[in-house]
């Protein structure tokens, strides 16, 4: 039988708040264990949660960006289960009346077409702490620094039908929360992770099959691999005429397999009920209006603007806008360098990105300012330095605190663009290599490259290559006439 894959994703986004969702302790990552866990986070008796305003604003921002409805009234519920890293015995989440519902987002598929993925809801909740099982021999270690960290859980409809679509959707949401600046999206630190609900059904059927939920996937690559593995596993079961068990599974990226964690609780097992410690959240229309006004320019708008306003090629505009940090650097760069926007884009994408990829660092790790980069671009543009020299200068700029001028001066990297000077060297080279000159004149044009190379060598690579090429051709022509 032919099977159709049906996938829905639940994405957990850690909101970029300074303090926790219900307490005033810090959300900073990587601090010593339990130094950021207050009485509220520890679930002491008699304490009361107080909701963080910023978390509400961020949830609304997300909702507006995916054309969702913002609930005028939404409520918090207790999700009850026992685990040592959840000291209260319940997680404060939203069940009925989430703050954001009925949204949608377009994702690119197959490089060309777009597909609309419906977003069922996005709700606010608190994160749990962390259990470490290999710290002590006969005890588990509990670190509650993460307990109470504000999360936005974004739930999609089962509209995704392949691992590629799931990855594309996850990347789109990641890009969006980074654009909105509601999360740092750091996947290594767990700020952005997802659970995937996967089921198969006979092709053409509109009844959903039994699903398995794969927990805590923290990379775009893993979401694809986990889904691919899971689809094959379910296919094998169904092809045997057996049925899939509804359960929670864990993806093991080292073995590239999913395995059973526990049979899935039904929602009723969590015994959700409205949290009596928290009153309903009422969102005023004015607040929504205010947030709407402050929504930043998003990816599609940015790409359009780059093409229209700066006449940048579409592929480059897309590449720059993909990552908000790169886009912001680019905009700062062309604020200082207005000569040629496409040239700025080329330099950013090939030179600077090349450096970043080679060193495996992100643009925010760089100390180099857009200002200094613009200065370097200006030098290239004015032919003061060659592009190959610019590479060396860029490396120096990043690795030292020197200015562009200081580096050029100190390293003697200034490009030779003086016509007379180049003419003299070209003449010298032609005289030094009469055989090659004759070969060229007899029609073996590839020898030109050799002669250019000799001129560059004599000038330690500092001669303006365009001028060298031009002058060499002129001189050789003169030789022919003789």
């Amino acid at each position: 039988m032919k099977w159709e894959t049906v996938i829905g994703l639940e994405i957990h986004v850690q909101l970029a708040c300074e303090s926790k969702i219900f307490s005033s302790s810090s959300t900073k990552y990587g601090m010593p264990q339990n130094t950021q866990a207050s009485l509220v986070d520890l679930g002491y008796p008699g304490v009361l949660p107080v909701l963080n305003h910023q978390a509400v604003v961020m949830a609304i921002k997300f909702g507006l960006a995916v054309d969702a409805e913002i609930a005028e009234k939404s409520i918090f519920a207790r999700k009850n289960y026992f685990y040592p890293d959840l000291p209260k015995g319940y997680q404060i989440s939203q069940y009925e009346l989430p703050i954001v519902f009925n949204g949608s987002i377009e994702i690119p598929i197959n490089d060309k077409s777009m597909k609309t993925i419906r977003i069922t809801r996005a709700h606010l909740e608190e994160d749990a702490g962390k259990s470490i099982h290999d710290k002590f021999d006969n005890a588990s270690a509990i670190d509650l620094n993460r307990a109470g960290t504000p999360l936005l859980e974004i739930v999609s409809e089962p509209d995704l039908s392949s691992s590629e679509e799931a990855s594309s959707y996850m990347q789109k949401i990641h890009q969006l929360v980074r654009y909105l600046k509601i999360s740092d999206g750091n996947m290594q630190e767990g700020s952005f992770r997802c659970d995937a609900n996967i089921s198969l059904r006979p092709l053409g059927s509109n009844v959903l099959g039994t699903r398995a939920e794969i927990k805590n996937i923290n990379s775009f690559k893993f979401v694809e691999k986990a889904i691919e593995f899971e689809v094959e596993r379910q296919k094998a079961i169904l092809d045997e005429g057996e049925s899939v068990t509804q359960e929670t599974r864990l993806y093991d990226s080292e073995k590239n397999e999913t395995r059973s964690m526990r049979s899935k609780e039904e929602a009723t097992d969590y015994r959700y009920f409205p949290d009596p410690d928290l009153l309903p959240i009422l969102v005023e229309k004015d607040l929504i209006k205010e947030i709407k006004k402050e929504l930043p320019e998003l990816f599609d708008q940015k790409v359009d603007r780059y093409i229209k306003q700066y006449s940048i090629r579409k592929v480059d505009a897309v590449e720059i806008a993909k990552n908000i940090d790169i886009a912001e650097f680019f905009e700062a760069l062309i604020h200082h360098f207005k000569e040629n926007y496409q040239q700025a884009a080329n330099w950013l994408l090939s030179e600077l990105m090349g450096y970043l990829n080679k060193e495996n660092i992100s643009i925010t790790d760089l100390t180099i300012t857009a200002d200094a980069s613009a200065e370097l671009l200006q030098k290239i543009h004015e032919n003061v330095v060659s592009t190959s020299m610019a590479k060396i200068i860029l490396k120096q700029l990043i690795e030292t605190n020197d200015s562009v001028d200081e580096i050029i001066e100190a390293q003697g990297l200034k490009q030779i663009s003086d016509r007379g000077q180049i003419e003299a060297i070209v003449k010298e080279v032609i005289e030094l290599f009469p055989d090659q000159r004759d070969q060229y004149l007899s029609g073996k044009e590839q020898v030109l490259g050799f002669l250019i190379g000799q001129v560059m060598k004599k000038t330690s690579g500092k001669a303006n290559p365009k001028m060298v090429n031009q002058i060499l051709l002129e001189k050789l022509k003169e030789n022919r006439r003789r």
Binding site: N34, V50, I75, S131, A139
Partner: protein
């Protein structure tokens, strides 16, 4: 509404409660009685009434996103049954 013995065991399991075998019938009856009372409430016509999430007709006051709490780990861990190296120690759990 009837509650089965297996329901009681399931609830105990979720609540991490251990009860004696001979107590099960007591709880079965008590929980059935509670559910029957709820069923009686169902008879009231609530079609025109919006669900209530909280008895107080007020809305949530929001807190400014500010870090105020200090690190009181040592103080809090005095109350813990077991702690070491800044961690709380609990019986080993492997999920």
């Amino acid at each position: 509404m009837t509650v089965k013995k297996s329901d009681i065991n399931h609830i105990c399991d979720l609540s991490k409660l251990r009860i004696d075998e001979n107590e099960i019938s007591t709880f079965t009856k008590q929980i059935s009685d509670i559910l029957n009372m709820i069923n009686e409430l169902e008879e009231a016509d609530t079609n025109e009434i919006k669900p209530m999430a909280h008895p107080m007709n007020m809305s949530q006051r929001l807190r400014k996103d500010e870090v105020i709490s200090n690190n009181d780990r040592d103080l809090f861990q005095e109350n813990a049954i077991d702690s070491e190296d800044g961690f709380y120690k609990v019986p080993k759990v492997i999920d």
